[in-house]
Structures are given as C-alpha cells and as structure tokens.
C-alpha cells in the first residue's frame, strides 16, 4: 500500500525544515553585507511555498493514521533527497554564482551525498553564506537528510522506524536504545561532538574560524568540499593535515561504537569489533604500500611519504576526498592502490560511502570458505562477525550488493564512454560518484574534469551519487515495476 497523503505531508514538513535552514544561512550575508542575501531569502520563500503546497496536498489524513508502510518509507527517502537538492540549489542559482540549473543541482547533490565533487571552478570568490551552505549540505547529508531532520525535529510521530530503515540499510543491525528516536539523538550528539572537536583542533592549528568550521563540517560528514580551490594543500600545514586525517578516520567508524566509547567508556567494544579491525588493517596496509612506493619513486623523504600516503589513503577510504597534492602525478602503481581504496569505503553506520568494510569482511570470509569447502566437502563453515554467525540471507545480500556495485561501476563506465568521456576518466568518474568520493583517477588529475562533461553526463553523475549514498537498493527498488503494482 502506498499512502500519497502521508508522503506529501512528510515531504512538506521536510521542505519547511530546509527553508528554515536556508533562512539561517542568510545571517551571513546580513552581517557581512554580501550579495547572496537575495538568493537565500528567495530560496527560503520558494521552499516554504512548495512545502506548504505539499502539506496542503497531504492534509486531512484522518485522525487515526494507519501508519507508514515500507513502500512509503522508500518513496519518502528517495524523493526527499531529490527534492532537498532541487531546493538546495536555489541560493546558487538566484544569487547568480552558478548560472544554469544542471550545475547548481549537481553542486547541491554532490554536497548532500557527501561526494564533494565540485563544479565551481573558483570557490574562493563565493560569498561566505554560500560557502557555508555548501558545507552544511554535506553535514546534513552525512547522517542522511531524513535522519537528520527527523532527529532534530521529531514532528512526525509515526513512521520514524520505516524512514530510518529505508535510509540506512546495511548488514549491521543493533540499536543504542529501544526507541529509534532516542538512538538517533545519541548518534547526532556524537556527530556534533566530532564536528566541534574538529573545529577546535583546526582553529588551534592556525586556520581561520570560518575555514575551521567549514572544513570540520565537511570532515565529519566525510564530504570533502573545501573553501579553497587547492583543498587542504592551500594551508600547507602538516598539523592541519594530521588533524584532518585523524578526524576523517574517526568519522569513518561506526557511530554506534563511537557512542559506546565516548559515553559509556566501553573502548573494548570498539577494539573487539570485526569491522573496525578490518578498517584499521586496510588503512595500515594501503598506507604502508603507498608510503614505501612514494619513498622509492619520488623525492619525498620518509616523513613526507608517510604523511602523504596516510592522508590520501584515509581520505579515499573514508570517501572524504580532500587532497594535499595531485596524486595522479605519482606512479601509476599507486593509482591502482587508490582505485582499490575507492571501492572499499569505511564502516557501516558512519558517514562514509562506498561498499563498507563489513561487506568486504563478509565477502572475503565467504570467498575463503569456498576454498575450505573444496577441501572438506561436508564441512559446515560459518561466517562470523563479532563472534556471531552471519545468517545465510545476510551473506547473500552482501554478495548481491557487491555484484550490483561492480555492475553499476561498469555501467557508469560504459555510459560515460558512450557520451564521449576518456576511458580512464570514465572509469574514475563512475567509481568516484558511486562511492561518493569526489576525487578520481585519470589523465586529467585527481579532480574530475566537469567542464568537458556533457550535461547528460552531469545528470547521470547525480543519479550515481544518490544511488551510492542510499546503498543502491533503496533507489533501484523504486525503479522496479513491482514496487508500484498492487496499490
């Protein structure tokens, strides 16, 4: 059953919340006297009006709701990401800093999905308000638009469970508290604390307050938008690089585990977690490989090799996508390693994208089991995560997810090739968008050459970003005919 009125009403409320956030951003132009005030005010007005239209369409749902179904949840989540991005692009458009809708929409969705690919050539000319809004889209999208708004303003009463389930699917279950609303608030608290600590740390390393806040928002969200054209390289500070590395790493950890560490002091829960171990291990191994090959093949000394390797491996695995240097100038062997990192992603239940470490762990353990099975045909071999046997159905959905992920990377590759993108760029762009990284590997440097991309390619990229952010099935489900049957 699909209940259009419930969907309209929730979308209406979400849009009103977005209008409120836009209005809050207009404080920057009000106090700094910059020329993007009109963009924010108009954007907020249009969003409010649209929100009211949705509310009007969804009014009179009867005093006793029959509640949301799973289908409603999926529709709300997918359409809220699209709608949020449409209205979120208004400030760019109205203030005139981005002149066509495709580009503005692309920039916003790249923000909300925490991809961090930017279409703006010179971000440093943007006024403070727009820059902050750009970072804020990432921060909101980091935990999920619906999650964020539902937790901040618990106004729906019904359907929270369905909404959360539709936005964050994945092989990890386990709540922090029996009530999903309270679990959500705890997670948001962790998120806030990370962001504040990161801001303070960056400020201490000599960044300006405005830059600290923006970079902290984008780091905690593992997004990767920077207020500078050269990204982190602009600051040319080792301490800033290390601070950002550490916070990217933390933001890639499961937030539930972070909660237990920060509020309950249960550090052992984190250290004993299978997924966390894999996450750390993969980062260490890839850093070592990249570091050694940098040391051998480039003029970097040992410390620089290590720092560069650690920074970039962490930035890619957590799908943040900050850079300090153009790594495509490094030997092609390192491209390969970076390409591998792009698939992986950090932990499930964090703000990162990609396939997630837990899927990788289950996948590799399943593969190992296949060899055991050849030697011992009658053996019953389980896959264990945190000492618990993973049910067959979960293993199956992990395999399906991985195949879908690969298939989509290849589909994207072919699509970009078909519209005339270079072969390496096509591959890198496809993978980068699906994993929500924002950096690429290719002949044109680590930033995707969006100027040469046809309009169709930009739209396709936004599609890949949303698919990747919502872990594939939540979006593709809506494209299946059976979802819409049997109303």
């Amino acid at each position: 059953m699909i209940h259009p009125r419930i969907i309209y009403r929730i979308l209406g409320i979400l849009l009103l919340i977005e209008a409120g956030i836009l209005l809050a951003c207009s404080l920057f132009p009000i106090f700094l006297g910059e020329n993007d005030l009109f963009g924010f005010i108009m954007g907020a007005l249009v969003t409010t009006a649209s929100g009211l239209v949705f509310l009007l369409a969804g009014r009179k749902t009867g005093h006793k709701e029959f509640g949301m179904t799973r289908r409603d949840g999926y529709i709300v989540v997918a359409s809220s990401w699209l709608l949020f991005s449409v209205f979120g692009s208004l400030p760019y458009l109205i203030s005139g800093y981005i002149t066509n809708f495709t580009d503005a929409y692309f920039e916003t969705i790249s923000g909300f999905t925490t991809t961090g690919a930017t279409i703006i050539k010179d971000v440093e000319i943007l006024p403070h308000g727009l820059l902050f809004w750009r970072s804020l889209t990432q921060w909101i999208g980091g935990l999920g638009i619906v999650f964020f708004t539902v937790v901040v303003l618990p106004v729906f009463g019904v359907g929270e469970t369905q909404l959360f389930a539709a936005e964050a699917i994945g092989p990890r279950r386990g709540k922090l508290h029996p009530r999903i609303g309270i679990s959500g608030r705890w997670i948001l608290t962790v998120y806030l604390i990370i962001s504040i600590l990161c801001t303070v740390a960056l400020k201490c390393c000599g960044m300006s307050m405005f830059d600290s806040v923006n970079h902290a928002l984008c780091t905690a969200a593992t997004g990767g938008f920077s207020t500078k054209n050269a990204s982190i390289a602009y600051f040319n500070s080792r301490s800033i690089e290390y601070v950002i590395t550490i916070f990217m790493f933390i933001s890639g950890i499961n937030y539930g585990l972070l909660f237990f560490v920060a509020f309950k002091g249960k550090v052992h829960k984190l250290l004993e977690d299978t997924e966390f171990k894999w996450y750390v291990l993969v980062i260490l191994i890839f850093t070592a490989i990249v570091g050694i090959s940098l040391f051998i093949s480039t003029p970097y000394d040992a410390a620089d090799s290590l720092r560069n390797a650690l920074f970039h491996v962490t930035a890619i695995i957590t799908t943040t996508g900050f850079t300090t240097t153009d790594y495509t100038l490094w030997p092609p062997f390192i491209w390969m390693i970076i390409g591998l990192c792009m698939y992986m992603g950090a932990c499930a239940g964090s703000t990162s994208g990609g396939m997630k470490a837990i899927r990788l762990a289950i996948l590799i353990k399943t593969m190992r089991n296949e060899f055991h099975r050849i030697l011992h045909p009658n053996a019953v071999i389980p896959v264990r995560i945190n000492g618990k046997v993973i049910p067959q159905s979960t293993r199956q959905s992990v395999l399906t997810f991985s195949i879908f992920f690969l298939a989509l990377v290849f589909f994207g590759w072919f699509f970009y090739l078909a519209i005339g993108v270079d072969i390496t760029d096509a591959y890198g762009t496809s993978l980068s968008c699906l994993s929500n990284i924002g950096l690429t590997i290719g002949d044109h440097g680590c930033n995707i050459p969006w100027d040469d991309m046809p309009t169709l390619g930009k739209w396709f990229s936004t599609f890949l970003m949303v698919i990747g952010r919502l872990e594939i099935f939540a979006v593709l489900l809506l494209l299946t005919p059976s979802f819409w049957k049997h109303r």
Partner: protein, 445 residues
C-alpha cells in the same frame, strides 16, 4: 517504561507490537535471527539475538534497569529461569508464562516471589475460563465482571427479534437499567451517542448490574434460547483439558480427538464426566451419531484455525446455538466474526492483554482487550481533584471514542449517564478505543 520481552514467539511479538505502539522502550530477546529480523525494521523496538537465559544477552538487553521483564518462550522452565536471572540482574518486576496449573495455586505464590518471579500467566487457563464463562451464559458473546461482580459488561448479538432495534438511543427512555457502551457493526467499533440506533446483526455491549440481566435478555430477544447442558469439544488440546476441569457439574462434555494416543492420554487427565471420542470432528455422520442435534454448545480447539472456523460453521448448520472457535491467526478474527461464530478465543491476545494490564501505571486493576471490538476496558480509582470530578460527565470534554460505563460508589454500583457527577473515591469503569488508555488516565489522576 523499560520492558524486556524474552521470546519472540506469538505472544512475545504480539505484546511487543502492542507496547511499541504505546511509546514504551521495548527490547526483545530471542535466539532466532529470523524471528527478530523483520521486527526491528518495522516497529520501534530493539532486538537482541541471544538466548533468553544467557546472562550476557540479558545484560545487553538492559535487563538491569528494566521495569518489567516478561518471559514468554514456549518452555515454562526456561521462562522461570529467565525471570530468576532477570530478577538477579535487577529487573523490577518479572512475569513468566507457565503451563502448569499447580504453580498458580495461591499457596505457591510466596515461593515464586522469593524465587524472583512476581507473576505467572497461564494462557491456556485464561482461555479455558473464558470458554466456560461463555457457555454459562450462552446468549452472551462476551462477559466481564467489574469490581467483584457488582457491575457487568456483556456483548450481545442482536437479531431481528430484539425489542430495541432502530430506535435512537435517546428515545429508549431515561432511567434505563443499562448503559450501551459500544456497538460493533461490520467490524467497526462505534461508541454510540444519543442519535445512534441499534440494528439487527449488531454486537452491542451493555453495561449493567447482575439483577438486570433477565431484563436485557428480554429486550435483546434471547429468551427462547436454551441453556447449555451438552457440550462437544473438538480437539483434545490443553485448553480442552482445562475447560473440562473448570466446567460446572451440570454440563455434559464430549471431547472429539482424532489422534488415538492423545485420546488415551486424555482419559488419564480428565474425569469420568467427560466422554472421549476418537474421530474427526468435521465428519457430519460422527457428529450426528454423537448427538450434535441436541447439543447446545460446540467448541473447536484444534491447532488449526481454519479447521476450527469451518467446524463451527458446520455445527451452526446442525442447529448448535453456541459455537466457540480458537483462532490463533489474528488476521482471521474479523473474518470469523463476520461468519457469525459465537465466541472467538485467541491465546495470544488473552495473554498479551493480561500482561498489558500489569504494566499500566495508574490504579487500573483490570484491563481487558476485547477480541472483537478494537477496544479496551479499564477501571480507575478516581483521585482527589481529578479533572473528571469537576463537572457533569456530559460537560467534561472527554476525547472521542471514550465512554464511562458505570461506577462503584460506597460499594453500590451506579450506571453513568450524562448527568452523573463523578466523585473522588469512585471506582469507574471506562470503555475506550484501543490504545487510548494512556490518554484518559490523566482525567482520573
């Protein structure tokens, strides 16, 4: 309120869904990932996949600061152990589901309390007593006593011959010896006002006193119905045995059971008044030869809900006036009602509403979940200065879907009309739509 439920079987899941709708903090423990998987993504509750008798699992579920721990796995000894462990960990109150009549005896209550089990519930026993109550007053579909029997509420199905049809309630007269608290029509519960009428086929809930029951029997057109003397039970389940034990002496009981071994076992469990017959209860010729035509009540208690419904329909065609079916599939309950099966018994609902009653904070002593009407009945002791005492009932803006049936004042039962003023100290019986009890509590405290 923090509630931990051990065992995600039928009772456990039903209870968890019921309570999560009430915004309680629910944690459900079970070993089976399959049973838990779908629950967490559809309901606002937490699931822990672990054994209900493992300390680690119980700790993880937060049993230590639980207000209520409910053990409803199929195995009674595990339930008792789980409750003891929960008590040891610090759960404030524990409830175990059991299968043994002995445990319920009042003299054992202290022992179980000292062992850390505060309450026991025995769904089969509860079901059996509902069946027996239903047979004692066969023209009544459902029957509740309040305040020790001073007030009764009963559900009666009205036929064409009822005397009160098609008249607005306000025209029925003023000082009526009854108060109509709800009407169930085609699966929809109506809390009636003065303009509503009763129609043939309605299931009407009367609140009244015991002395007025004959009057209601008359106006409902039920006088010519015979009292139940001969009973046939199909299926020798545990409920059947308990029913046989609880049945008054004047009734004659036959139990039809298809499994011969079970029949032999039944003969050991029940006394000589009960005749055990080996055969299929759906077989018309067997029913005829066992005298279905002069049987007043037919009770279907096999494991299979569909069989029970069909057998009751067949018995109706033989002219049995009272049919009772055990329907464990909750989705079938409304359907069974439409098919005119007299009383539907559902163990899960009975058990869940029994536990539900335990967790209500206010001075509620009896909440029953009505199987047919989507409604709850609750009793409140009115506190000093409660909002409900400030005016006459009709001038207090009670929420829609709530009606006050009657009250006990100085040990006298009083039926409530719009002009009644409720006083502190009154014991009030309230009828409300499902899940509204929390909302109306504040009127009485």
């Amino acid at each position: 309120m923090r509630i931990v439920i051990a065992g995600a079987g039928n009772v456990g899941t039903h209870l968890a869904k019921l309570l999560s709708g009430e915004n309680q903090d629910i944690t459900l423990i079970d070993e089976s990932e399959e049973k838990l998987g779908r629950l967490e993504s559809n309901f606002d509750l937490m699931t822990i996949q672990d054994s209900p008798v493992s300390l680690r699992g119980l700790k993880e579920a937060g049993t230590g600061d639980a207000d209520l721990f409910v053990a409803v796995t199929p195995d009674e000894s595990r339930n008792l152990i789980a409750c003891q462990l929960a008590h040891y960990l610090g759960a404030k109150k524990t409830v175990a589901r059991i299968d043994n009549y002995e445990y319920l005896l009042p003299k054992n209550k202290e022992f179980f309390k000292s062992a850390g089990v505060n309450s026991l519930i025995y769904p089969e026993m509860l079901a059996a007593s509902e069946i027996v109550a239903g047979m004692k007053l066969s023209w009544i579909r459902q029957w509740w006593e309040f305040a020790g029997g001073a007030l009764v509420m009963m559900g009666v199905k009205l036929r064409e011959n009822a005397m009160i049809l098609d008249k607005p309630l306000s025209l029925l007269g003023n000082e009526l010896p009854y108060h109509i608290v709800a009407i169930l029509r085609e699966g929809i519960t109506i809390i009636p006002s003065g303009n509503d009428t009763m129609q043939a086929g309605d299931l009407v809930y009367f609140m009244t006193m015991k002395k007025h029951i004959p009057h209601i029997r008359k106006i409902a057109g039920k006088q010519e119905l015979p009292d139940v003397r001969d009973v046939i039970i199909m299926g020798g389940s545990r409920i059947a045995i308990r029913t046989a034990q609880l049945m008054p002496d004047y009734m004659n009981l036959k139990i039809i059971e298809s499994n011969l071994d079970r029949c032999n076992r039944l003969t050991e469990l029940v006394d000589d008044r009960v005749m055990i017959i080996n055969g299929d209860g759906r077989d018309p010729s067997l029913l005829t030869s066992e005298g279905i035509s002069h049987t007043e009540a037919f009770v279907a208690l096999t494991d299979n809900s569909e069989t029970n419904i069909l057998a009751c329909l067949a018995a109706k065609r033989f002219g049995v006036t009272k049919t009772i079916a055990e329907v464990e599939n909750i989705d079938y309950i409304n359907m069974a009602e439409k098919l005119d099966i007299g009383t539907v018994i559902n163990k899960k609902k009975i058990a869940a509403s029994h536990i539900y009653q335990m967790m209500l904070d206010a001075d509620v002593t009896n909440v029953k979940c009505l199987t047919f009407a989507n409604a709850d009945v609750a009793e409140f002791n009115v506190k000093e200065g409660a909002r409900i005492t400030r005016n006459q009932v009709k001038d207090i803006s009670l929420p829609r879907g709530v009606t006050i049936g009657g009250l006990i004042r100085d040990k006298e039962a009083v039926l409530v009309t719009g002009n009644t003023t409720i006083q502190p100290g009154d014991h009030v019986v309230v009828f409300c739509l499902e899940g509204m009890i929390k909302t109306i509590e504040k009127f009485f405290n």
